[in-house]
Amino acid sequence: MNHHRQRFPLQSCPHLSACRSAHGPNPFRSLQPCLKAKPLGPTSVRREPNDAVPRCSLCSSSSASRLYACLACAAVSCWSPNLHSPPHAAAHAVAAGAGHEIAVDLDRAELFCSLCRDQVYDPDFDTAVVRANHMFLPLPPPTSHPKDTKKRRRAVEYQPWSPDPHERMCIARGSSPLPPDSTCGLRGLNNLGNTCFMNSVLQALLHTPPLRNYFLSDRHNRYECQRKRVKISATDNAKSVAARLCLACDMDAIFSAVYSGDRRPYSPAKFLYSWWQHAANLASYEQQDAHEFFISMLDGIHEKVEQEKGKPQSQGSGDCCIAHRVFSGILRSDVTCTVCGFTSTTYDPCVDFSLDLEPNHGPAKNSTTKSHSCNGEMESMLSSHVGGVSTLMGCLDRFTRPERLGSDQKLFCQNCQVKQESLKQLSIRKLPLVACFHIKRFEHSSTKKMSRKVDRYLQFPFSLDMAPYLSSSILRGRFGNRIFAFDGDESDNPTEAASEFELFAVVTHTGRLDAGHYVTYLRLNNQWYKCDDAWITQVSESIVRASQGYMMFYVQKVLHYRGNEN
């Protein structure tokens, strides 16, 4: 159970270690009743009665920015090196002798060593602080994921597979090796009339590693699927209309065509026809939104599976269809009452992350702290501008920041039993295999009856670590970054590597909202290519970095395998 200790290098000092061994197994037990938690603020340390103002025993100051209480004798001393030399807490440690070196910051509940003159950290102390906050810790939400709690599927060792002699024979008979070619799978797509929105997304999907592997491994055989569908149509009239359509089969056909080695541009006409039947409201000879198409397509692949299985499939686990297996993640939403601190949590699946670009000049620089007292002003106080450039991580910071809902948006608090002003914070409970970031560059205003495009440049990294946006990180940050295994921690396996992603496709939009063009940049074997409808050309990394990203596709660097249930 103590594996959380291994994750945090112990940051103690010899005086703290000595203090611990002197006081037995639970050195901070006597402190527990003195730890005072607040709904949205830091934990403080006070003796009963609560309202006595702590004063330095040497100078009577109560306004010093740092006041410490000795762990051994509870003497309060200030730390004001500008006014006193040595600072009073250090003087106390020297005068009172061994055992009086460690003190606790009264306003911040942090341990301090007066001899080392540094803040020190201890997991048991942190546990005591978190315990003091127990009424503010979010409750685990009602069993939305029974799988998670009951049988956590543990990560297993990767075992490489090799074909046995019989399988080798089948492979030799049924296939021919592809020529060693670094441009395998690169093929232009003809523009069928304002269809670059479709071509650009298709190019990204054709090179999405898990999706490509799925279709090229024949996991959705379009011939078999069609046979099944014809049978359904023949026997069941009610299902026959739906059975005519299968976007996954059409995808399979495109994969085969694009990886066939034929270099002439391919016309995804059948796919367009099928998609227009699926998304009737989007069927028109007009430029469409690439992101809308992406969502519609994933939905089409999922729906087909639902029809087959005859019941709604939960998207969150990703077990329903290949589209969700690849793109589905889980978002966690915490709503906290600002009056009593009670937090309610919900989980929702998501297939991508739609991010707002900051409304005006430049966002906050990536801040290293997430302050819990969360107003916009506080956040910009903590961070600085990076020459006014918007960044993807800045957008993600914004996406996961605590947001104070207005007084006109009060939510019902289960604890207070009335509507109260609340804080809302999003975080990522489960990362998808492939993360698609959609930048909301198209603003549609229904009131002004107009739309506009935001052309501002957005910096996006080639290598991205999503760890700061995980629920475990966000939750820990909310409670002062204490050394504690919070709910939401992936205690199964160390997930540091599982949060690292790398960029493999960028869909860009140039031009105006009503007269624009989509182009996709793809990375194959560390070389970038531009896919502009039928034209595939090589481009430098710089071109990609400097481009106007609209949808960025990242894939996990390391894949973790879960054991089968069987």
Binding site: G188, G193, T368
Partner: protein, 170 residues
């Protein structure tokens, strides 16, 4: 705000400066303490990597903006990596899977739109003829046979009633 050691400051403003100073010190320590904890426990983000990415992007933008660096190949008149050139409008010919006619690739979408009876103009044509027959037979308001668009970009099709002088087919 007057400086703390200004001689002519009134006792009142000296006191408020003093309090302000204390509050400011306290806030600074709050932040220092938080950052110290994050750094010591190894919870901080890899700022070096993030800064490297920012630097590379800034460099890239400068490079791309420089006209002397052969720019990105733009437009439709280039040779692709396989040595091929293509016409501006795709000229592959195939059969429409809805009606069976032979269609040129670059004109397929507008053809399919009409062929499937989708799209604004196709539906308006249908609506017009259907409403014409309906008003003859009933006093109710015209009912479109096709579901209206949900796309917020679209203007109300009825306004363009008279504009259907030929579809923009080249």
């Amino acid at each position: 705000m007057s400086a703390p050691n200004e001689e002519y400051a009134s006792p009142h403003s000296q006191l408020s400066s003093h309090f302000f100073g204390d509050l400011l010190d306290s806030i600074i320590v709050d932040i220092a303490s938080e950052c110290h904890r994050i750094a010591r426990l190894g919870l901080d983000r890899n700022l070096e990597e993030e800064e490297e990415e920012l630097r590379l992007s800034a460099q890239a933008r400068v490079r791309v903006a420089d006209p002397s660096n052969g720019g990105e190949t733009n437009g439709k008149y280039v040779v692709d990596i396989f040595g091929q050139t293509h016409p501006a409008v795709a000229n592959e010919i195939f059969e429409c899977m809805n009606c069976g006619r032979s269609i040129m690739a670059g004109r397929f979408a507008p053809h399919l739109e009409k062929c499937m009876g989708k799209g604004r103009k196709a539906r308006m044509k249908a609506t017009r003829s259907s409403t014409a027959s309906q008003t003859r037979h009933s006093r109710g308001s015209p009912i479109s046979l096709y579901s209206p668009y949900s796309n917020s970009n679209r203007s109300n099709g009825v306004d363009d009633y008279c504009n259907e002088g030929g579809l923009d087919d080249q």
